[in-house]
C-alpha cells in the first residue's frame, strides 16, 4: 500500500515539475475537477429529468405516441379534477398535523431520553429507533392487525377499557387518513428524536448551569436557553419531516390504495396512478410541479417563522 508520504511526494512532482500538472492541479481549477463527477451525475440524473418533466407538464403524452402541446391545459385540468383536489387537501392536512405532533413527541422524547435521571437510556433509545429500521411491508402488516375492525389489537384494547371497540380505523373515510398519520408517526418519531438528543447534547452544560445560578427554574431554562439553542435542529426536523410528509405514498398505497373514496389518497398516489397506471405523463408531471410548489411555499413559511 502506498504511504501518505509517497502520495504527497508524487503529487508534488506532478504539480511542480510538469506543465500538465500545473494546469490540471491549478489551485483555482482543481476543486472543480474533484467535484465534477458528482455534478455530472447530478445534472444527468436530477436536473435533466426535472427539466424534462417540466416540459412534459405542458403536453399530453402517454410516453409512446406523439407528444401534443397543450400549454397550461394540464394545470387547468388539475384544478378542476376532484381526485387531485381531494389528494392535495389530504396531503396538506396530514402534513400539518403530522409535523406538529411529530415535533412535539420528538422534543418530549428527546428531553426524556437525554435525562440523566432515566435508567437504561441506551435501551429506550434503541427501542424508539427500531420502528425506523422495520421495512414498510412488515409495518403495514403489523398495522393491519392493530387496526383491524374485527379482533384488531387497538379495538380489543378499547373494548377492554370499556370503550367502543368496533372502530373501522382504516375503512371509515373520516378516520382512515389519521390512522395512517398515526402509523407514520410511530415509524418516524425515533429517527427525529435522535436529532433532538444530538442537539441537546451539543448545548454546553455550563450554559444551563449558569441559567440555574441566575435563578431560572426548569421551565425557564428550557424556554429561554435550551429551545433557542435547538432552533437549527427544530428547523431541520420541520423541513425534513414536512418534505417527507408531502410525499406520503407507501403507507396509504399499501394499506388502502388511497381509499375508501379517496379518503387516504395523496398527491404522490395521484402522480403514480396517472404516470404508471393511466400513462398520462404530462398530467402526472404537472401534478408533480404543483406538489413541488406547495412544498416550497411550506418551506419558505417555515423559514420565515423560524427566522422571526
Amino acid at each position: 500500500m502506498p504511504s501518505i508520504e509517497g502520495i504527497q511526494y508524487t503529487y508534488q512532482i506532478i504539480y511542480h515539475k510538469t506543465k500538465v500538472g500545473e494546469k490540471l492541479f491549478d489551485k483555482k481549477k482543481s476543486p472543480y475537477f474533484f467535484i465534477a463527477p458528482f455534478f455530472i451525475m447530478f445534472v444527468v440524473f436530477w436536473i435533466w429529468p426535472i427539466a424534462q418533466s417540466f416540459i412534459w407538464s405542458f403536453s399530453k403524452w402517454d410516453g409512446i405516441s406523439e407528444k401534443k402541446f397543450v400549454g397550461f391545459g394540464n394545470y387547468i385540468s388539475l384544478f378542476n379534477d376532484n381526485d387531485f383536489l381531494i389528494s392535495l387537501k389530504n396531503v396538506i392536512l396530514a402534513a400539518i398535523v403530522y409535523v406538529v405532533i411529530l415535533l412535539a413527541i420528538a422534543l418530549l422524547l428527546g428531553f426524556l431520553l437525554n435525562s440523566a435521571m432515566l435508567k437504561g437510556r441506551a435501551f429506550f433509545r434503541t427501542s424508539f429507533f427500531i420502528p425506523v429500521t422495520v421495512s414498510l411491508p412488515v409495518v403495514s402488516l403489523i398495522f393491519c392487525i392493530i387496526y383491524a375492525p374485527h379482533n384488531g389489537v387497538l379495538n380489543n384494547i378499547l373494548s377492554f377499557l370499556g370503550m367502543p371497540g368496533s372502530i373501522k380505523w382504516l375503512t371509515n373515510p373520516k378516520i382512515a387518513l389519521w390512522s395512517i398519520v398515526g402509523l407514520r408517526l410511530w415509524r418516524a418519531v425515533g429517527y427525529y428524536t435522535i436529532f433532538v438528543i444530538a442537539g441537546l447534547q451539543a448545548i454546553p452544560k455550563s450554559t444551563i448551569e449558569a441559567g440555574h445560578i441566575d435563578g431560572a427554574n426548569t421551565w425557564q431554562v428550557v424556554r429561554y436557553i435550551v429551545l433557542p439553542q435547538l432552533k437549527p435542529i427544530i428547523v431541520y426536523v420541520i423541513i425534513a419531516s414536512s418534505i417527507w410528509a408531502f410525499q406520503l405514498f407507501e403507507e396509504p398505497w399499501i394499506l388502502n390504495q388511497g381509499g375508501p373514496v379517496n379518503a387516504t389518497s395523496t398527491v404522490a398516489i395521484f402522480i403514480y396512478r396517472n404516470a404508471f397506471q393511466f400513462f398520462k405523463l404530462g398530467y402526472a408531471s404537472a401534478s408533480a410541479y404543483v406538489l413541488t410548489m406547495v412544498i416550497m411555499i411550506f418551506a419558505i413559511i417555515n423559514f420565515r417563522i423560524m427566522k422571526d
Binding site: C144, A148, H150, G152, Q257, G259, P260, V261, R273, Q277
Partner: protein, 424 residues
C-alpha cells in the same frame, strides 16, 4: 525459392482466415434471452423450461429475472418509452396490459394463436391480449377462474350441505339464515376499501353473468341494466349477511379462517395456494364448490381473476428467438404443470390443461379440490382502460358501501363517469 515459399505461406494464411470465418458464420451465434417475471414463472423458467428449451435450441440460454409484478410493469413501461433496457420477453398483469398492446412495439402472435393453435387457447382470454387493430400481441398463458371455498368442518357443524347451493339466491338465503342463527360466524370476506381488489371482486360476479362494461369497440355500453342488477346483488350480498371486511391479503381474514369462524370464500383459483401457504393446518378441511349460477337455467359461467400476458418487445435483437421461447413456454407441459402446482394458475392452453386436470397423485392441498370441482367456462371480458376503470369502479363501490349512494345510483354514476372521464 524463398519468394515462392513466402507467397505460398501468404496464400495458405489468407485461405485459413477465410475458412475460419466461414466456419464461424455457419455456426449459430450464442444467444442469451432475458425474461422478466415473478413468482413461480421465474422458477419454472430457470429450473425446467429454460433447460428444456435449450435442448431444442442448444445455442440459447434463458435467464429469468424475478421482480414484483407492478415494479416489473413500471420498468417495462419505462424501457418501452425510452427504447432502452427492455428484456427479450416478459410477463405482464394481463388485466391492465391493454395499454401496452401496440403493434409497433410488440411481437405479433396472431398466426400462432389463430392458425397454428386455433381453438386450443381459451378464446375469451385471447381477447385480453388483442390490440384495437385485431392483432394478438401476447399470449394469455394462465387464468384464475372463481370457485367458492368453504370450511367443511364448520359447514358440517352448521348442518350445511353445499350441494344445495346452486344459484346465488340459494347462497344469499343460506347466508342470511346463518347470520341470524350464528352471529359469530362470518359468511365470507369482503374487500373494502374497494381499490383494485374490490373492483375485481365485483367483476367476478359481473363476468360470471356474461356481461360487460365495454363493447367490442371499447365504448361504454349505455343503460346497462344487467350490471345495474349485478351491483344491486353485490350490495345485498355484502351488506346483508355477516361478512368480514379486509384488504386483499389481510391477515385478519386468514386469522378468522384459522379460528374456524369463516364459512365461505368466493374467490379465484390462485387463492387456494394462498390459503395453503397461510394455513397448512387446514389441509383436508378446506373444500370448494362451483361458482353459483345466476339462475337455474343460466349458463354455467364463472368469473376470472387475473392471469398473465407473455409479451416480446418487437425491436429486441433476439425478438424471433424470444417469441419462439414464449410459444414454447405457453404450451410446455412442464412449465404449465409448475404454474398449476405453484400458484394454481389454470393453463390457458387446452391440451395441456386437460392433461394436468387428470393429475391426482400430487398432494397439494386445495388444488385437487378445484380439479374435482372442474373449471367452468369464462366469458369474454373487455378490459378497456382497465386501470382507470378500476379506480372509478372502486371509488363508487366505496361510496355505495358507506351509504352515500344506493346501488342504482352507484351504477348510474359509474356509467356516467366512465363515459365522461374515458371519453368512451
Amino acid at each position: 525459392m524463398k519468394k515462392y515459399v513466402c507467397i505460398l505461406l501468404m496464400v495458405t494464411l489468407v485461405f485459413s482466415i477465410l475458412a475460419i470465418q466461414s466456419v464461424g458464420a455457419a455456426t449459430e451465434k450464442n444467444i442469451k434471452l432475458t425474461f422478466w417475471g415473478w413468482g413461480p414463472h421465474v422458477d419454472a423458467i430457470n429450473n425446467t423450461v429454460g433447460p428444456a428449451f435449450q435442448k431444442v435450441h442448444p445455442n440459447v440460454t434463458v435467464e429469468a429475472i424475478s421482480m414484483g409484478p407492478w415494479d416489473l410493469m413500471d420498468k417495462f413501461y419505462v424501457s418501452m418509452v425510452s427504447g432502452e433496457g427492455a428484456p427479450d420477453a416478459c410477463q405482464l398483469v394481463r388485466r391492465v396490459s391493454a395499454k401496452y398492446l401496440i403493434s409497433e412495439l410488440l411481437y405479433d402472435f396472431t398466426d400462432f394463436i389463430t392458425v397454428e393453435h386455433k381453438g386450443e387457447f381459451v378464446d375469451a382470454l385471447n381477447k385480453d391480449v388483442t390490440s384495437i387493430d385485431g392483432k394478438v400481441l401476447g399470449i394469455a398463458s394462465d387464468y384464475g377462474p372463481a370457485v367458492v371455498y368453504y370450511d367443511k368442518k364448520l359447514a358440517d357443524d352448521l348442518g350445511i350441505d353445499v350441494s344445495n347451493i346452486v344459484t346465488w339466491d340459494d347462497y344469499y338465503n343460506l347466508a342470511m339464515e346463518i347470520s341470524k342463527s350464528n352471529p359469530d360466524v362470518y359468511i365470507h370476506p369482503f374487500f373494502y376499501p374497494s381499490g383494485s381488489w374490490g373492483s375485481n371482486q365485483w367483476k367476478l360476479w359481473a363476468q360470471s353473468a356474461g356481461l360487460n362494461i365495454f363493447d367490442d369497440e371499447g365504448m361504454v355500453i349505455r343503460d346497462n341494466e344487467g350490471l345495474r342488477e349485478v351491483t344491486r346483488f353485490y350490495y345485498k350480498l355484502h351488506k346483508g349477511p355477516n361478512v368480514i371486511e379486509g384488504v386483499v391479503n389481510d391477515p385478519i381474514i386468514y386469522d378468522t379462517l384459522r379460528q374456524r369462524k369463516l364459512l365461505f370464500w368466493p374467490s379465484n383459483s390462485y387463492r387456494s395456494m394462498e390459503i395453503a401457504q397461510q394455513l397448512p393446518e387446514m389441509e383436508g378441511e378446506t373444500y370448494a364448490f362451483p361458482w353459483p349460477l345466476w339462475s337455474e337455467d343460466a349458463p354455467a359461467y364463472t368469473g376470472n381473476w387475473g392471469g398473465v400476458a407473455l409479451v416480446v418487445p418487437k425491436k429486441g435483437p433476439n425478438a424471433e428467438m424470444a417469441a419462439e421461447f414464449v410459444k414454447f413456454y405457453s404450451t410446455n407441459i412442464e412449465a404449465l404443470t409448475g404454474l398449476w402446482f405453484g400458484v394454481a394458475g389454470v393453463p390457458a392452453y387446452g391440451p395441456v390443461r386437460e392433461e394436468i386436470m387428470q393429475i391426482t397423485d400430487r398432494e397439494t392441498f386445495t388444488i385437487n379440490l378445484i380439479q374435482s370441482v372442474g373449471v367452468r367456462d369464462v366469458p369474454t371480458w373487455n378490459y378497456t382502460d382497465w386501470a382507470q376503470t378500476e379506480k372509478i369502479l372502486g371509488d363508487n363501490l366505496d361510496s355505495m358501501f358507506t351509504g352515500d349512494m344506493t346501488p342504482d345510483e352507484t351504477w348510474d354514476t359509474i356509467e356516467a363517469q366512465l363515459i365522461k372521464i374515458l371519453g368512451r
